[in-house]
């Protein structure tokens, strides 16, 4: 086999290797910013986002309409400031509410949007007014335990009978 042919093939081989590593770095480990042509951004403030992570889906009626693009802490009011990058095709009215939901009992957390009745739609950069926080299981258990404890000793026998 000719020397130049071998050089060519090894060149292709190395190029494939570099492409593979780049793919792993960019697509799998994700180092790229998203394209901003076909999306617009809304903001929502939550008291508690639980385990919501960047890149978590934003769903409306169960349909994925966008992704969480950034989560920051608003240091003036101490609430979580979440940026939602939504698909341009989907527009939501001004009184749309956002809540943080969990897929299944142990599944990933996502943002659910519920369309309101207002005629005017939200523009890019607007902030959602109505939000409800994530359900944090530990806090829920904590509340349950305190209310359970407050009942005192007399209900002890009843709970033991259960």
């Amino acid at each position: 086999m000719k020397r130049s042919t071998i050089d060519l093939w090894v060149g292709i081989f190395v190029a494939i290797g570099i492409a593979a590593v780049t793919f792993l770095a960019l697509k799998v480990a994700n180092l790229t910013p998203q394209s901003s042509d076909s999306t617009y951004t809304l903001y929502a403030d939550f008291d508690n986002i639980g385990g919501l992570k960047v890149k978590a889906p934003v769903k409306s009626s169960g349909v994925v309409v966008g992704r969480v693009s950034a989560v920051t802490l608003d240091t003036k009011r101490y609430v979580a400031h979440v940026a939602l990058t939504l698909d341009n095709r989907y527009r939501f009215s001004r009184d749309t509410s956002a809540e943080i939901l969990t897929a299944g009992l142990l599944g990933e957390q996502y943002v659910g949007l519920t369309q309101g009745g207002d005629d005017v739609n939200l523009k890019a950069g607007d902030t959602l007014a109505i939000t409800s926080s994530a359900l944090v299981l530990e806090q829920l258990i904590g509340k349950f335990m305190t209310s359970f404890g407050e009942k005192g000793g007399d209900s002890h026998a009843a709970s033991a009978a259960k």
Binding site: I6, V10, F13, G17, A20, V21, V28
Partner: protein
């Protein structure tokens, strides 16, 4: 009477001494190859030529096996994850198991059986037909001309093949999970992005494959150079290459995983 009693012990002792002697010989061989490697970098064409045989010709087997391993991971992973209602995590499962373990290990096993055995057979046959001696007579160092280029070609090819294996596996998982079963494509990638870290997972996996590359190629060229110069000797050396490489890869993988993760 005493002689027959002592025979098993003598046999065990002989095997032990022999094994340690070969280990030491392999170590000294490694240093000799490294010392003779200078020519590889002044005449890089030699390494490129060997990379063609070791790396480029392994592309097909790596691509096809990577794709199938990824598809199997997708199927099995989906079946198990679906029972816990977390089939969304399929992307993370496929990517992490490939990047951390399966990619480097399986690519190295394939590389050992595809290219390592070929190197051993080639060098062994050169020795059996006295080509290496002929080179030495002509004042050409066979270590520098024959062994070192193959050694470096193997080391350079291995991470490329492992990275390609990972990519094909992830695409295979995508094919089964998203195209065939119908999971959300965005969730597949976003779950993967959430859980894969560039340094921790991707770079560590590549370091693993580099270490496997060094081990496999050293075993291959050593077994070839050390082969008994007969037809049977070359054949048993080739077998030893594949068996030893496989064991060394799996043992090294355990050690590296214990250190890395």
């Amino acid at each position: 009477m005493l002689e027959t009693l002592l025979f098993p012990f003598r046999h065990i002792g002989h095997l032990t001494v022999n094994a340690i002697w070969r280990l030491g010989f392999a170590c000294r061989f490694l240093f000799a190859v490294l010392k003779a490697s200078g020519q590889c970098f002044t005449r890089f064409g030699l390494v490129v030529r060997e990379m063609y045989f070791a790396g480029v010709l392994s592309l097909i087997i790596i691509i096809v096996s990577g794709l199938f391993v990824g598809m199997v991971l997708g199927l099995q992973g989906y079946n198990t994850l679906a029972r816990f209602g977390s089939s969304d995590a399929l992307g993370a499962l496929v990517a992490l198991s490939l990047l951390r373990e399966l990619g480097p290990v399986l690519a190295a096993l394939l590389f050992a059986s595809r290219s390592g055995s070929a190197m051993t057979a080639e060098i062994g046959l050169m020795k059996a037909t006295e080509q290496l001696d002929a080179m030495a007579v002509m004042a050409v160092d066979p270590l520098a001309r024959v062994v070192a280029p193959r050694f470096w070609a193997g080391i350079l090819s291995m991470p490329v093949l492992a990275a390609l294996f990972n990519v094909m596996g992830i695409l295979g998982g995508y094919l089964v999970g998203v195209v065939m079963i119908g999971l959300d494509s965005g969730t597949y990638w976003s779950q993967m992005n959430n859980s894969v870290d560039l340094h921790f997972d991707v770079v560590n996996g590549l370091i693993k494959s580099l270490v496997f590359g060094i081990a496999v190629t050293l075993i291959a060229v050593f077994e070839g150079y050390d082969a008994t110069p007969t037809a049977a000797g070359v054949s048993s050396a080739t077998t030893r290459t594949v068996v030893t490489s496989a064991l060394v890869i799996l043992a090294l993988d355990f050690i590296l995983t214990a250190f890395m993760f």
